[in-house]
Symmetry: C2
Subunit: 294 residues, 2 copies
């Protein structure tokens, strides 16, 4: 059974840059939309367009058949789902809970178990594709949970993403997102070291990009962040502080599986130094500065 | 002035997998071709097709107006160019010398100076694109040297490559190739750590590739080497031993410029351990095994 738009109330928690665009696509598809977010002003635009403001996760839960969360850190996820005024406490049996925050795979498993014990259907479904993917509804959505739950909410996920894969049971979505962040982490070192080498050896980094961008050294980061590094544009995109959070989760998770990830550990430590230097609210491409040290 | 094919004898030294294809394109374009390579049997096919065998770099130099070298290591390059029976000693004034080996930028500068002192035109022009790029004549060629020398030999380079950029003066081609290898080095850590994490966390690595391959984690290595890692195909492509050579040159060159490259240093050290374990003649994607340790 899939959930059609006319009679399925959707609750959305977390209206940051990503969440706002994602919630907006759901409202535009005709789903009655309830919203809650820590900073109420961020909901104003959606409320003007017809979304219903809710004062807490608990009241939002009571009004929604499907609840989507897109918040900041695993501790936020934990409180919203497992806290006293949380979703699992207040959602009616049969409610679907979809956490799209990048969060801990182990927490996703705990939430899934606690939800199942109350007759709730929990999925983890983190995304990649950034603010542009959220705005265009072209996110890559990596889901974990039960197949029938995934199928039920697929029409809603399809409003937000274009590459939607059920990767396995609860936690598998988060594990997949960790793979994504692990691949990016070391590659950022390579991209920055390559372009720093270009600059310091006296080459024209833009010409170097022309030679190396489309071959075996090519990557999304090189093509998309490389030009910003060269022109000194360090605005986020993707925040250093959020990348550090993600790498921290991945490191912890790898450690629990006894997987050694020296590239990830190195990238994490260098980004932590960048953060200590005051770059936590810059885009991840600011790593280039670490190498150039002008 | 550009060198046309009817009256320009080209000498080609080094007929490995790459060199053989590259030399063959030049012969097919109508240039009289002279060849020399350490293992004479590797020249047989080209000689059957009309190339002239030469017994030494010196005799090849005497017969050629343009000389291309595509050999193994910087010490080979040094001997062929600067040795007693070498090209600079034996080439006639006005000869063009193009080293397409991935070699040291500093050696390229030395060769350029020694060549100029004898009225010879030296270019460094390493490539990326591998055996397939060599076979299809679609290599990326990164050149260093004087603009007029580059323009003179451009018709010959165009037989071998499709993305040909003069990056700067002597050594700039090698420096650009170092940027290429530096970007690849750390990214290989990221790709292998991501896919090892996928496998060890119980995901289906092929499904993970579907979720992460085309977004911000995407790269040539993830898309092209990832599937080989997953299926256990570790045949070269690009040899571990050659990658170690390239990373060693890049590390040395970065050190001389006082550029710290911790990602490159880490990748180099891990590949050296792989080599010590007997993987030096495998493809670079065998790094996956280092993480999985089955």
């Amino acid at each position: 059974m899939q959930l059609s738009s006319e009679n399925t109330a959707v609750g959305f928690i977390g209206l940051g840059v990503m969440g706002k665009s994602m919630a907006s696509h759901i409202r535009e598809a005709g789903y009655p939309l309830h919203v809650y977010t820590r900073t109420a002003s961020k909901a104003e635009e959606l409320v003007k367009q017809g979304a219903v403001w809710q004062d807490s996760p608990g009241s939002l839960a009571a009004a929604s058949r499907v609840i989507i969360t897109m918040v900041g850190y695993p501790q936020d996820v934990e409180e919203i789902y497992l806290g006293k005024d949380g979703l699992i406490e207040h959602a009616a049996p049969g409610t679907y809970l979809i956490d799209m925050t990048t969060s801990s795979p182990q927490l996703a498993e705990r939430i899934h178990e606690a939800a199942a014990a109350k007759g709730l259907h929990a999925l983890d479904a983190p995304v990649s594709g950034g603010d542009i993917g959220a705005r265009n509804g072209t996110l890559s959505i990596m889901a974990g949970g039960r197949g029938e739950d995934f199928n039920a909410v697929l029409p809603i996920l399809e409003r937000m993403g274009s590459n939607i894969v059920l990767q396995g049971p609860a936690g598998a979505g988060q594990h997949t997102k960790m793979c994504n962040q692990i691949a990016i982490a070391s590659n950022m070192l390579g991209v920055c070291e390559a372009l720093a080498y270009a600059k310091i050896s006296g080459l024209d980094p833009a010409a170097v990009l022309k030679s190396i961008g489309s071959g075996a050294a090519g990557s999304w980061s090189l093509s998309n962040l490389g030009p910003r590094m060269i022109t000194g544009d360090f605005e986020p995109g993707f925040f250093v502080k959020h990348f550090i959070k993600d790498m921290g989760i991945a490191l912890q998770s790898a450690k629990e599986m006894k997987l050694d990830t020296p590239g990830l550990a190195l990238a994490h430590s260098i980004y932590e130094r960048l953060s200590a230097l005051g770059y936590e609210d810059k885009g991840t491409q600011v790593l280039y500065n670490y190498y150039i040290k002008e």
